[in-house]
Amino acid sequence: MNRIHYLFNNKQERVLSIYFTAGFPHLDDTIPVMEAIQAGGADIIEIGVPYSDPIADGPTIQDSNKIALENGMSMKKLFEQLKGFRAKIHIPVVLMGYLNPIIQFGMEDFCKKCKEVGIDGLIVPDLPMQQYLDEFKSLFEEYGLVNTFLISPQTSEKRIREIDENTDGFIYMVSSHSITGAKSGISKEQITYFKRVQDMNLKNPRLIGFGISDAETFTTASSYSHGAIIGSAFIKTVKDSKNLSEDIKNYLQSVLKN
């Protein structure tokens, strides 16, 4: 069974997913960061594949992408690093990457490699649903990879239903219409949106991302969904860290405390 399905079968609330950029802050930090995220009590790890032009990301993640690339991170390098990670990491791991580097690697080779190393799912923010259905869905399925789509407050009910129909992992709810790390705190309008989607009774679990940074925002988001995704705030935590495992553990504990 795919680890994402297993997770949501057993846990429906306060699921915490942590995004970080592969090869950041240093090239060989990828695995140590993953271990620390698991040790800190998160439920899902989202590995960002760095890209030169991440148009859906704000300054914090852009910056981490740039540094990771300067460190020498690449798709090939990432798969080398991930070889054998399943000996240490048992929670679901999702790769998040922009479409161009994936296409250059070759979509089929990419999916194959993901399966080989033990990746459970993919988030490709600039892969639209129609293109996914037309070109890639069968490949994802062949290699047992769950595809995750994003929705925003502007996404129509009709489209949310279509997305719900065409995924079987989780739905990534962008909490404000915003790039990552753009706003902090949760507004009344966002809560209205969370409730609206909650009331749609979708078949897929929902995680709320963008704008989640601490215990308060995590708890608020979790009360309208199955949990939340933290990205920029986590990147800030590891950026200047002198002791990654300690700082990550402390940060995750501060988020998870009730």
């Binding site: 030169s52 690449s74 753009a182």
Partner: protein, 392 residues
């Protein structure tokens, strides 16, 4: 037939590879732009502004001394005489009327050389709309006069500080801001790039260039079709406009002049069709300069308007099927061609446009060929670059 299909593809290139957060904006545009643009109300306002505000039709000028120099009949399509100094305003007029009809209150745009930024700031002033222009930090330095023009016109100019700090990064930044402000904001893309329907929409607004060329040439030469049309290509909006009504007339050769920068193999180039491979850039499948790992390579050209690592999907298609002939012009040669045009015809061209002039040295043509060069912009904005170069 060269035309966009219903999914936004020209052959293998095009489409809309965008984050879901932009889907509602793009869908709104896609579902509405054709009917709005086709409406009589839109066309009346558009045509009136093109005539009385932009100053269209722009002349098709027989360049006799240039013709003598090269031994062909060379006409210059004088887009440099458009209000604001380049062809860019044809598109911004179209898009601002469209934005108004869509009920948008705010405009954002990216700019490279600043011509599109100025053209956008101009139409925003004209319509009383709020305007923010994203511009690479490096371009802000080398295109000072245009930055000040935008500010005089009331626009806010925001520097893009990531990557190469040029057009590509300004485009990234504008897209991010559109994601952040999806409801009340329209993004006026300045070239035939971006997700469908932008490439076709921008090409259509620019197609007035070849539409006029046809009847003007008929008047002057007794025929609608030249033997060659030459235009420079960064993203490729002026070329798309100049080629548009000739796409499906194979007798007309379409010549696209790209920027080779310091030379094809110098590592400082923007010659996309030579150095690029198929991939995805700014929401469409096209040809772009990239590493094996799919990271976008930072381009170089002395002209900010050509300093872009991709080309519009329609140009990728023209290249792919061999309909377009692409030449790559080095910085130094473009500058010299700029001086040549200045001294033979009394026209100081934009450095972008100077690339198209130099293309005459790189292609074969017959002695009596009728050649139209799209003179996309004037050189006022480039004085500082001309001065720094100094070779005159």
């Amino acid at each position: 037939m060269i035309r966009v299909d219903e999914k936004g593809f020209y052959g293998k290139f095009g489409g809309a590879y965008i984050p879901e957060m932009l889907h509602p904006n793009i869908e709104e545009l896609r579902d509405n732009y054709e009917s709005i643009v086709a409406s009589e109300e839109f066309q009346q306002e558009f045509q009136l502004l093109l005539r009385d505000f932009v100053g269209r039709p722009t002349p098709l000028y027989f360049a006799s001394r240039l013709s003598e120099t090269f031994g062909a009949k060379i006409y210059l399509k004088r887009e440099d005489l458009c209000h604001t100094g380049a062809h860019k305003v044809n598109n911004t007029i179209g898009q601002i009327i469209l934005a108004k009809k869509l009920g948008k209150k705010r405009i954002i745009a990216e700019t490279g050389a600043g011509q599109h930024g100025v053209a956008t700031a101009t139409v925003c002033a004209l319509m009383g709309m709020d305007c923010t222009v994203y511009m690479g930090e490096l371009d802000i330095e080398r295109q000072r006069p245009n930055v000040e023009r935008m500010k005089i016109l009331g626009a806010k100019v925001v520097p893009a500080t990531s990557g190469s700090k040029t057009l590509k990064d300004a485009t990234n930044e504008a897209m991010r801001q559109w994601i952040n402000n999806p409801v009340d904001t329209h993004y006026i893309i300045g070239s035939v790039v971006g997700p469908h329907p932008y490439p076709e929409m921008v090409a259509r607004f620019q197609s007035v260039i070849s539409e006029e060329m046809k009847w003007q040439l008929k008047e002057k030469e007794g025929r609608e079709n030249p033997d060659l049309v030459i235009a420079c290509v960064g993203g490729g909006s002026n070329a798309a406009g100049a080629f548009y009504h000739y796409y499906n007339t194979p007798d007309v050769r379409l010549i696209a002049a790209e920027a080779a920068g310091l030379g094809i193999s110098s590592g400082k180039s923007a010659a996309t069709t030579v150095l690029g491979t198929p991939g995805i850039l700014h929401g469409s499948k096209t040809i772009l300069m990239q590493t094996e790992d799919g990271q976008v390579v930072e381009p170089h050209s002395i002209s900010a308007g050509l300093d872009y690592p991709g080309i519009g999907p329609v140009h990728a298609h023209l290249f792919d099927i061999g309909r377009g002939e692409f030449v790559a012009v080095e910085d130094e040669d473009a500058m010299k061609a700029g001086i040549l045009l200045s001294r033979t015809e009394g026209i100081i061209p934009a450095i972008e446009t100077a690339h198209a002039i130099h293309a005459l040295n790189m292609i074969e043509y017959r002695k009596d060929d009728v050649i139209v060069i799209n003179l996309s912009g004037r050189g006022d904005k480039d004085l500082e670059t001309y001065i720094k170069w100094g070779g005159y």
